[in-house]
């Protein structure tokens, strides 16, 4: 290429914290970040999602202490008595710090499952490289806590809930948790990750990085709900490595935050591995929600599947970027990707970039994309049966989104997401007025 790298965004919002680093790995990451800056609009991967909102603030480190009563109340609201996830083992972070008092003890986790806090034993691993990804670099420089889960070979660890709670703190804060999950051969785990910050009025920035290593024949299902506060910025990055005959199933439901991005890099490194990267977003107001994925087929006979659906009201904007990269060795790759969007109001916008980059000849890869409005004929049919307009719309939108949540294998997680979705629908799809 003949270009000079375009200058990135200023690091001013994090300047003091980046300047005060001591650890060599963190300093190196800060150096990587300083070289390129935070991604600007000329960076192809950030063409559609503008991070100017980050520049508006100076983000400080949150206080490790928090209001316990508020935390309990928030958790009870998330997991009411008798709800699907109430009884499952739970790990809770508050403003980026692992809260031992709110979390399951090591002893109460299933046998063969170990959980360490990142704060007590920091370990960055090699999957997420700060040199390649400025948001990983930022996380590496500033990560203060997180969970490090590992499941021993052959162990079925069942379901574990990981909650990242934002509570009101002093001023605009940012937290950069670093999580890792490692599954041994033939192990299995369902991780239900929830990012919630319902009552926080100040803007905050949640910048988690999760690395997953899924060994031979292991099965990892990762289900995530993003329900951050209305002024929050949520930029999450997941790096997964999937070994031979292993499966990584990922699902994200995006409902909250002013600006959100869930970015998954899944590398299929062993033969006959499979990855599913699915997701849905229901956005309103002036929300911007971005689901980005890079699926790298690095071995023969692997399968990747991706289904993403977006529903947009008001002036909301959704971004979908999905890249399937098939390396020369990855013969017999089977890749399929579908993204669809419903625009429910004149001010809404969808930008999609499904991308295929293919270097092997014996492959079957395809993608499809559709964008449109609700089907007037269906709407009329419902109304002719006596269902009011707003209700009819809600039924159709719910049907559109539930077709994706159905892809979640774990029943408890699926029920939980459907409940969250139903509540969000009542809020977002009300009368026809804000819609058309």
């Amino acid at each position: 290429m003949n270009a000079i790298a375009p200058a990135g965004r200023s690091l001013a919002p994090f300047e003091t914290r980046l300047a005060g680093l001591h650890d060599s790995q963190r300093k190196a990451a800060a150096g990587d970040l300083a070289r390129v800056g935070l991604p600007g609009p000329r960076i192809e991967a950030w063409h559609y999602t503008n991070l100017r909102a980050l520049s508006a603030h100076s983000f400080t480190e949150p206080d490790a202490r928090f209001d316990e009563q508020a935390a309990h109340a928030a958790l009870e609201a998330l997991f009411p008595k008798g709800s699907a996830l109430e009884k499952l083992p739970r790990l809770v972070l508050v403003n980026g710090h692992l809260a031992a008092g709110l979390s399951a003890s090591a002893a109460s986790l299933p046998a063969g499952v170990s959980c360490l806090s990142f704060a007590s034993s920091p370990e960055f691993g090699t999957l997420a490289a700060p040199q390649r990804d400025p948001l990983v670099a930022l996380n590496t420089a500033l990560a203060s806590d997180g969970v490090r889960l590992s499941v021993a070979s052959g162990v079925n660890a069942g379901q574990i809930v990981l909650v990242s709670l934002a509570l009101s703190s002093s001023g605009t804060v940012s937290f950069h948790p670093r999580h890792s999950v490692a599954l041994g051969a033939e192990a299995s785990l369902t991780l239900i990750e929830i990012a919630a910050g319902d009552d926080v009025s100040d803007p905050y920035f949640h910048n988690p990085v999760l690395t997953c290593s899924v060994a031979e024949k292991a099965h990892f299902e990762h289900v995530k709900l993003q329900r951050e506060a209305g002024d929050a910025i949520h930029l999450a990055t997941v790096y997964a490595d999937i070994a031979s005959h292993a499966t990584y199933e990922s699902f994200v439901l995006g409902l909250g935050a002013a600006l959100a991005r869930h970015e998954v890099h899944a590398g299929l490194s062993g033969t006959h591995a499979a990855v599913h990267v699915n997701g849905a977003q229901l956005l309103g107001d002036a929300q911007v929600g971005d689901i980005t994925s890079v699926i790298m087929h690095g071995a023969p006979d692997c399968i990747s599947r991706q289904t993403v659906r977006n529903v947009l009201t008001d002036r909301a904007r959704a971004v979908f970027q999905g890249k399937v990269l098939v390396e020369r060795v990855a013969q017999k790759t089977d890749g399929y990707q579908m993204n669809q969007a419903l625009l429910l109001s004149p001010g809404a916008e969808i930008d999609a970039k499904p991308e295929l980059e293919i270097y092997a000849d014996d492959v079957r890869c395809s993608h499809g994309a559709t964008v449109g409005a609700l089907d007037e004929e269906q709407l009329f049919y419902l109304r002719s049966r006596g269902i009011a307009d707003a209700h009819a719309r809600r039924i159709l939108v719910e049907a559109f989104l539930i077709e994706v949540t159905e892809l979640v294998q774990n029943e408890a997680a699926r029920d939980f997401l459907d409940g969250e979705l139903a509540r969000a629908l009542v809020k977002r799809v009300t009368t026809g007025e804000n819609l058309s």
Binding site: A352, P354, E355, L356, D361, C365, H367, A373, S436
Partner: protein
């Protein structure tokens, strides 16, 4: 030998084992000195006896270009280009117009013969008078651009009787200054992008077409572009204006001699379609692609854009891209008029070390605008081919529709095929559908054909032709033949 390997080799042969248009014509040329500065531009403008406004327009473009950088987002790589190391003007030495074929430079005639232009048409090409009635048998009017200069335009008389202007753009500047001044740069502004700015500064010739209100152009219009001289860039500029209810079909063919250095081709094409107008623009691009080691070949950096200004206007781009070392090209449509229609049909074949990054932009501005994109990509050898396309629905594009189908075929495991669509929708009633597939020629298909007695080469030709059918059928007959030859195919459509 396994079938796959053989197949690959057949196809590698098929692409350009013999680039048969790689001859060079030895003609006395008039060159501008190497290099690019304001003096070069003043010289070009003076040679062409241009009015002041055009020189000013060129100089403004040049100044804009100096502040710009080459685009780098395309998936192509090449060593830095030294823009000072080329001639920006090269023309056959001017002599008084020939009276008969005997007086024409025989080398020039031989060139046309090799290009496959029939002899009586050659006579027209070099400006020899043809008896009345002779013209009527010939279906295509030709403008030939040789290096930087349009050498001849045929069928002037028939066309002018219909009210159609078809002439070199340099001549249009002289004879129709108001039209040129009104439309030049109105679709692709002088500072639109790096290559377009360069073209605006140094363009030397190209074709000009004007079809007045209500006129269906009585014949296909065609331009042959040929780069011949060494160390020259070719920067032609084409401007086609079609008024209300009028229509035209325009064909463009390109060749260049084999050279071991790279040559730059940075053209601009602007189309303007008014109410109910229709423009069909077809290209068979066969610039020299370089040899099997990637040496030489044309750098083809082209900006083509059409504006559907009036209601129900229609612009249709069809391209068969088999040549060039590097292709950077996105024929686009600005769909402004209500109910206007944009179409893009493309076949891009790359082989050896060729790189192509090509596609389209469909910008839907008006209500009920429609666009269709059919792109077929075939990669062989060690080549890389990318489809890059933008579909944008603006807020007022209510009821707009787009359908996109991109299919890639890989032949061999050393090439790459990529699909990069950009889909942007800001109108809730607009609908976009996009589909893309990547595959190879299946072994089942190859075996089936061979069991019926077809050689591997014929089988590949047949299957590739079938793969491209939806695009090839959009080409006018005159070009379909050439394109089919280029894709090495046989007798499609003999029944029916």
């Amino acid at each position: 030998m396994p079938a796959v390997t053989e197949t690959r080799e057949q196809v590698e042969k098929l692409g350009q084992s013999s680039y048969k248009w790689g001859f060079e014509t030895d003609i006395e040329m008039d060159f501008a000195p190497k290099g690019l500065n304001e003096d070069t531009i003043r010289l070009i403008s003076a040679r062409k006896e241009e009015p002041e406004w055009l020189l000013d327009w060129r100089l403004a473009a040049f100044r804009a270009w100096q502040t710009m950088t080459e685009p780098t987002w395309a998936k192509v790589t090449y060593p830095p280009i030294d823009y000072q190391d080329a001639h920006y003007y090269a023309a056959p030495k001017k002599k008084p117009g020939p009276k008969s074929l005997e007086e024409v430079d025989p080398e020039l005639l031989r060139t046309y013969e090799k290009l496959g232009i029939p002899l009586h048409e050659q006579a027209l090409l070099v400006g020899v008078e043809v008896p009345e009635g002779e013209e009527a048998r010939l279906p295509v009017a030709v403008d030939a651009v040789f290096d930087s200069v349009s050498v001849a335009t045929t069928f002037r008389k028939t066309l002018s009787e219909a009210g159609v202007i078809f002439c070199p753009i340099s001549e249009a500047v002289r004879d129709h200054p108001d039209l040129v001044r009104k439309y030049l740069g109105s679709v692709v502004p002088a500072g639109d992008n790096f290559y377009a700015a360069l073209n605006a500064a140094v363009f030397t010739d190209g074709s000009f077409v004007f079809v007045p209100k209500g006129v269906r152009c009585p014949m296909e219009l065609s331009t042959y572009f040929r780069i011949n001289a060494r160390n020259t860039g070719q920067f032609e500029r084409t401007l086609i204006i079609v008024e209300d209810g009028a229509s035209v079909s325009y064909l463009e063919g390109c060749t260049a001699p084999m050279r071991d250095e790279n040559q730059l081709h940075a053209a601009v094409v602007e189309l303007v379609a008014m109410e109910d107008a229709a423009i069909k623009y077809s290209t068979v691009q066969n610039w020299y692609p370089g040899d099997e080691n990637g040496l030489g070949g044309i750098y083809n950096f082209v900006t083509k854009r059409g504006a559907c200004r009036g209601a129900r206007a229609k612009i249709s781009w069809t391209q068969v891209e088999t040549g060039s070392a590097i292709t950077w090209k996105y024929p686009s449509c600005i769909l402004q008029g209500e109910g206007s229609v944009g179409e893009f049909y493309s076949v891009a074949v790359t082989n050896n070390h060729q790189q192509a990054d090509t596609g389209t932009k469909m910008i839907h501005i008006g209500r009920n605008t429609r666009s269709t994109i059919i792109a077929k990509t075939i990669s062989a050898g060690q080549s890389d081919s990318t489809y890059r396309g933008l579909v944008r629905m603006m807020p007022k594009a209510s009821g707009a529709r787009n359908f996109t189908q991109c299919d890639s075929l890989l032949i061999g495991d050393r090439c790459g095929a990529h699909t990069v669509p950009y889909i942007e929708n800001r109108n809730m009633s607009a609908r976009i559908e996009h589909e893309a597939t990547t595959s190879k020629i299946s072994e089942d298909q190859m075996f089936y054909c061979r069991q019926r007695g077809l050689s591997e080469e014929d089988a590949v030709g047949l299957i590739v032709n079938g793969f491209c059918k939806d695009v090839l059928r959009e080409l006018p007959m005159e070009f379909a033949v050439e394109a089919q030859k280029l894709l090495q195919i046989s007798l499609e459509g003999s029944v029916g």
